[in-house]
């Protein structure tokens, strides 16, 4: 054995399980803290209950951002699937009917989703209003996948007391792509230890409700069932599921008593749709989290957060302003991956 090999024998040791755990706990604590601040700063719309109760509970709260109150509260008892009796319910059922009677998606190697998002970000004490385009191309679990991205605009919006971190992602104004893990667009509960493949979801409303209620009960701590349903709904509606599963999602939303129909609106891309709203409050502000749906086709158009009562996180904003949005431009199957250069 040479001297380097002998050094290894002398000094090498596997990490202890508790050391690994403690280190991970410290890191996720820092991540949670930053994510919470980031969500307030970046002001993306809340991401709802996608990560609840997985040892990433803090991340879930962080993702929910400043506009959720329910973390740590006791969940309501799950509501049964109820018959439609409100305008919101009737419009959701119209969306369910449309999507169930529409064509199934064609075929291809990759499930592709194109989105545009907008909001505010902070870099080095300066805030910017931004718009970004994102694409996902996913051949499924164990296969290849790609993410594409391009900043559309980034406009200085004034100084802020927050610090924020710069990133090449925020300054990439040409399309770039980066390799991704296959299968994530086929999942809900992304980032958890046990994500669920959407292709396993039941395709009737009662069965889907039982399935999601069971997941909520098993995995989530303190999430409000309406948040849970909203968050999973927007994931499922843009994922590779069939028309019956999409219809079941709308039927579940129709049965939620906390859903309110806002009426016909233009989505962030100017497309007409019906907005459904759910009011949340926290951190000194009140917001409406909206799903915008084309009820004639049953396609999810966008989600957005509308400021009802801007808090200290939104200086210069007034009630009715859009804090952040994420619009779904398209989803479906494709065989083509764009020939973009790698992310700088």
């Amino acid at each position: 054995m040479d001297e380097l090999g002998m050094l290894v024998s002398l000094l090498d040791e596997d990490p202890s399980a508790h050391g690994e755990r403690d280190g991970r706990r410290r890191l996720t604590g820092a991540i949670d803290k930053e994510a919470t601040q980031a969500r307030r700063r970046f002001a993306f719309r809340p991401r709802f209950a996608l990560f609840g109760g997985f040892g990433l509970a803090g991340a879930a709260a962080a993702l929910a951002g400043a506009v959720l109150l329910s973390s740590g509260t006791t969940p309501r008892a799950p509501d049964p699937v109820r018959p439609a009796s409100t305008p919101a319910a009737r419009l959701m059922l119209a969306a369910a009917h449309s999507v169930e009677s529409g064509p199934a998606a064609s075929s291809g190697r990759y499930w592709e989703v194109q989105r545009q998002r907008g909001g505010r970000l902070v870099e080095d004490g300066k805030s910017y209003d931004f718009v970004q385009r994102l694409g996902g191309y996913d051949a499924g679990p164990g296969r290849d996948a790609w993410s594409t991205m391009r900043m559309v605009s980034k406009r200085y919006a004034g100084p802020t007391s927050e610090q924020g971190a710069g990133s090449s992602l925020w300054d990439t104004f040409r399309w770039s792509k980066v390799r991704a893990s296959g299968g994530q667009t086929y999942q809900i509960l992304q980032g958890s230890k046990d994500p669920v493949d959407v292709r396993r979801l039941p395709d009737t409303a009662p069965a889907l409700k039982s399935y999601l209620d069971k997941l909520l009960h098993e995995r989530s701590q303190g999430w409000d069932p309406t948040e849970w349903l909203y968050g999973n709904a927007e994931d499922i509606l843009a994922s590779p599921v069939g028309p019956r599963v999409r219809g079941a999602v709308y039927r579940l939303l129709a049965a939620d008593p906390h859903l309110r129909a806002v009426g016909t609106v233009k989505d962030p891309l100017g497309r007409p749709g019906t907005a459904f709203s759910r009011r949340t409050s926290g951190a000194g502000m009140v917001t409406d989290d909206q799903l915008i749906v084309d009820t004639r086709t049953g396609r999810l158009l966008a989600t957005r957060t509308v400021l009802v009562q801007p808090g200290p996180a939104w200086p210069g904003k007034k009630p009715g302003d859009i804090a952040s949005y994420e619009a779904v431009l398209s989803y479906g199957w494709t065989d083509q991956i764009p020939n973009y250069p790698p992310l700088p």
Partner: protein, 188 residues
């Protein structure tokens, strides 16, 4: 879909974590064991848990500074770990001193048990630990990044921010000193 899929290369994970901080746990998953081994080798078990954890916390907070064009992520992580180790020089000294004393007639426990068994079997010579104390801090950084972290010369250069040629010269010097200690009459 509400988020792009998780990227599966180091640079991609760090880039994605700028927008979605929770992605950074992927860096921990991939590199914690290797960083721990390196830090443990230099500081021993008491300090290793803390310094390894601090390495990833530092990396997370400074991830916007990581530039893939300047080297691989693991080189950057080991650079951070090495700078943190440097804040524990006395701990490192104590560790090598303790290992140098190991032998059949010495009390020991835990990791030291295994080392003592290796000493007994003739696989390891305690003089090596003493020789480590005789290296300069810069020589120790290079030789232990190569031996324990398995970094290439290029990666060591990136980790420590030194020229490529300097890595080779420091490594050669360190190895000569270690061999000399092993070949000395006391070490045979």
């Amino acid at each position: 879909m509400t988020a792009p899929p998780a990227v599966d290369d180091d640079a991609g994970i760090v880039a994605a974590s700028l927008a979605e901080p929770e992605r950074f746990t992927g860096v921990y998953d991939r590199h914690h064991a290797a960083v721990y081994r390196y830090v443990h080798g230099r500081l021993g078990p008491q300090a290793a848990d803390d310094v390894a954890a601090e390495t990833f916390l530092t990396a997370f907070r400074r991830r916007a500074d990581f530039d893939p064009a300047r080297g691989a992520l693991r080189a950057w992580l080991f650079g951070i770990a090495t700078r943190l180790v440097a804040q524990h020089r006395r701990t490192e000294e104590r560790r090598y001193r303790a290992l140098a004393r190991l032998g059949p007639d010495r009390p020991h426990g835990g990791h030291e048990d295994r080392v003592a068994a290796a000493v007994d079997a003739g696989l390891v010579k305690p003089e090596l630990a003493a020789a480590l104390r005789g290296l300069s801090a810069k020589e120790r950084d290079v030789v232990l990044l190569v031996a324990l972290a398995d970094l290439t010369h290029e990666e060591v250069a990136a980790a420590l921010g030194i020229p490529y040629g300097t890595v080779g010269s420091r490594l050669n010097r360190a190895r000569r000193k270690l061999r000399a200690a092993l070949d000395s009459p006391e070490g045979t």
